[in-house]
């Protein structure tokens, strides 16, 4: 086979393979920059009395839009509250009295943290802690509350 024909087909093969890899990483894995680069994000903490099944790397959303990720989850040994570390993209700033809650996407979906901005003109700084939080809904607790309400009637 002629050398130029050989080169042509091998070139097509390599370009085809590389473009498939590019398709897989861009379209299927949907690379986002959130949480990957610590220079572009700042850290805030949120204490929850129950985090449900929240996992590290879960998204932090405001009005459904992802602004950051949960980078670590630990337990505060004094208050026995779970401490979630959130990495928030620097271009989004929130007021000091923002509240955080743990929400679920869909009925059986992943859990994420929803932020709700407050009215305080002072903004959350790197290392601040959100005190206004509401915990994850745990099905057993909901049912037991419902049962006690029903029996007390």
């Amino acid at each position: 086979m002629k050398r130029s024909v050989l080169d042509f087909w091998v070139g097509i093969f390599v370009i085809l393979g590389l473009s498939c890899i590019a398709f897989l990483s861009l379209k299927v894995a949907h690379i986002t920059t959130f949480g990957e680069n610590k220079n572009n994000s700042y850290t805030i903490y949120a204490k929850f009395s129950n985090i449900g099944s929240l996992k590290v790397n879960a998204p932090v959303k405001v009005s459904g839009f992802t602004v950051g990720r949960v980078s670590a989850i630990s337990l505060d040994p004094k208050t026995y509250q779970a401490l979630a570390t959130l990495q928030i993209d620097k271009q989004y700033q929130f007021s000091n009295d923002s509240s955080a809650e743990i929400l679920t996407t869909g009925l059986l979906g992943e859990q994420y943290i929803g932020l709700q901005s407050g009215a305080d003109p002072e903004l959350l700084k790197n290392g601040d802690t959100i005190s206004l939080t509401s915990s994850a809904l745990v099905l057993e607790q909901l049912i037991s509350k419902f049962m006690t309400n029903m029996t007390s009637k």
């Binding site: 086979m1 050398r3 050989l6 080169d7 087909w9 091998v10 097509i12 093969f13 390599v14 085809l16 393979g17 590389l18 498939c20 890899i21 398709f23 897989l24 990483s25 379209k27 299927v28 894995a29 949907h30 690379i31 059986l108 992943e110």
Partner: protein
């Protein structure tokens, strides 16, 4: 007493010959690594091998990937429908292709399409004493014949796997969105939510690289070990496909246990 010792020998022979084979494979791999500089200085030979093992496998890989993706989507749809969660069909197809089916099936297809060809070619060159003629002319057949085939196969393997994954996902898209009328936005966004670049895609590429090394090593090893007869070459070709499939499936379990 003699027959008793023969029974013991019959038990030990498969094990010892397996260990001998592993040792010879490792020795061959060492020789290949030692001569790799020589082969890289002659890229034309490698490009020719990429053509034979990679370019000529594009069609079988693409068509198989397309059908595997379509079957996955169809079966997944039937099962997910019972739980009312057909929206995760996209992530089901993408994850099973990227993590397991893509690397494994394309490695097995590669072994039967290209690996058997490599074995037959080297085996026939050995049977017709072309390899001996090369040695006589002070050309090392390992460097001149074996290493380009080995490298060409290793370069082709991840590219073919990526092609397989792409075609599979498009096949799943075709069945899920176009035939079964799922929402295409949900299909892609569910997929994007669950697929992770380093966890799924990079690990899949690492898997396919490892499979490429193993399948190509088995192919060239069987070619060099083939008996110099027509039956010997045909038996070696069969062994390449069988051993490659077994090695790929067993290694896949080990790699999965470490990766995920």
């Amino acid at each position: 007493m003699k027959s008793f010792s023969q029974i013991i020998q019959a038990c030990g022979r498969p094990v010892s010959s397996f260990i001998f084979m592993l040792g010879e494979c490792a020795h061959l791999l060492y020789n290949i690594i030692c001569g790799i500089i020589y082969a890289i200085r002659r890229p034309r030979l490698i490009i020719k091998e990429i053509f034979f093992s990679g370019v000529l496998s594009i069609l079988i890989i693409a068509i198989s990937g397309w059908f595997v993706g379509m079957v996955l989507a169809l079966q997944g749809y039937n099962t997910l429908q019972r739980f009312g969660s057909v929206s995760v069909l996209g992530s089901l197809v993408a994850l099973s292709l990227l993590r397991e089916l893509g690397p494994v099936l394309s490695a097995i297809l590669f072994a039967s399409r290209a690996g058997s060809g490599i074995t037959a070619e080297i085996g026939l060159m050995k049977a017709t004493e072309q390899l001996d003629a090369m040695s006589v002319m002070a050309v090392d057949p390992i460097k001149r014949v074996v290493i380009p085939k080995f490298l060409g196969g290793i370069i082709s393997m991840p590219l073919l796997t990526a092609l397989f994954n792409y075609c599979g996902i498009m096949g799943g898209y075709f069945v899920g969105v176009i035939l079964l009328k799922l929402d295409h936005g949900t299909f892609w966004s569910q997929m994007q939510d669950s697929v992770d670049l380093s966890q799924d895609i990079v690990n899949g590429i690492i898997k396919s690289l490892v499979f490429g090394i193993v399948v190509n090593l088995i192919s060239v090893y069987q070619g060099l070990q083939a008996k110099s007869t027509a039956e010997g070459v045909s038996a070696a070709t069969t062994r390449t496909v069988v051993h490659s499939a077994l090695a790929v499936l067993a290694l896949d379990f080990v790699l999965t246990a470490f990766m995920f």
